[in-house]
Symmetry: C2
Subunit: 129 residues, 2 copies
């Protein structure tokens, strides 16, 4: 099938699919007219990539997951380790965002938000206690 249909079925933009080919994540056949020709297997890979990316895995992690996906002798422990590492990463990001949020909420809570220039948010950014 052509890239348009593959895009529709995998829920990925054609541009992204071409990019994935550029970075060797997928290697579709070519029709005689030079068009890319995706097999069902190719579409499975694309869907796998779409889902993996949407769960926050990086391209390199996707590459690894894809190789495990296609390895019949994989150990599920290897897959689980990747997922747990990603959860750790997410937890770190959550903590950071929560801390930022608390700081901003505190600053905004102390700001009158009127037409006067006096502003504790600006004061904080300027390093004034």
């Amino acid at each position: 099938m052509n890239i348009g249909l593959a895009a529709e079925q995998s829920n990925l933009p054609p541009k992204t699919i071409r990019y994935y080919e550029d970075i060797d994540l997928i290697r579709p056949a070519r029709s005689e007219n030079g068009y890319r020709d995706y097999s069902e297997t190719d579409v499975h890979r694309l869907k796998f990539l779409q889902r993996s990316r949407s769960l926050g895995f990086t391209i390199d992690e996707c590459r690894l997951l894809l190789s495990l996906y296609e390895d019949e002798h994989r150990a599920s422990a290897d897959v689980k380790a990747i997922a747990l590492a990603k959860i750790d990463e997410i937890d770190r990001k959550l903590a950071e965002l929560q801390s930022l949020r608390a700081t901003l909420a505190n600053l905004a809570g102390n700001c009158h938000g009127n037409d006067k220039p006096n502003c504790p948010i600006i004061d904080d950014l300027a390093g004034e206690t």
Copy 2:
């Protein structure tokens, strides 16, 4: 003062400070030998940028905040609006990360994590129910 000292005082790497000049966030004077020459005011701006960036504001938001910082006739409502918008953005990111985390934790929780190939994480990524 030279860029090294300005870097030390603002807690920003020299490379970053030069980049900020490139994108017109700061315009230091030049000494006769061609070296950048930062005033106390420049350092205040740099510190302001460092703090703003560390709170998650984008460069463009910093540009805006900086203009408010230097505007004696600013309305604190304008500053507060930026902070509240950023909090909203953080909340959206938090929700997304929490959702990702829940999905991954659920998948990992169902995976035996042994040396067998059977793996519900891979199954999910592959779109298999």
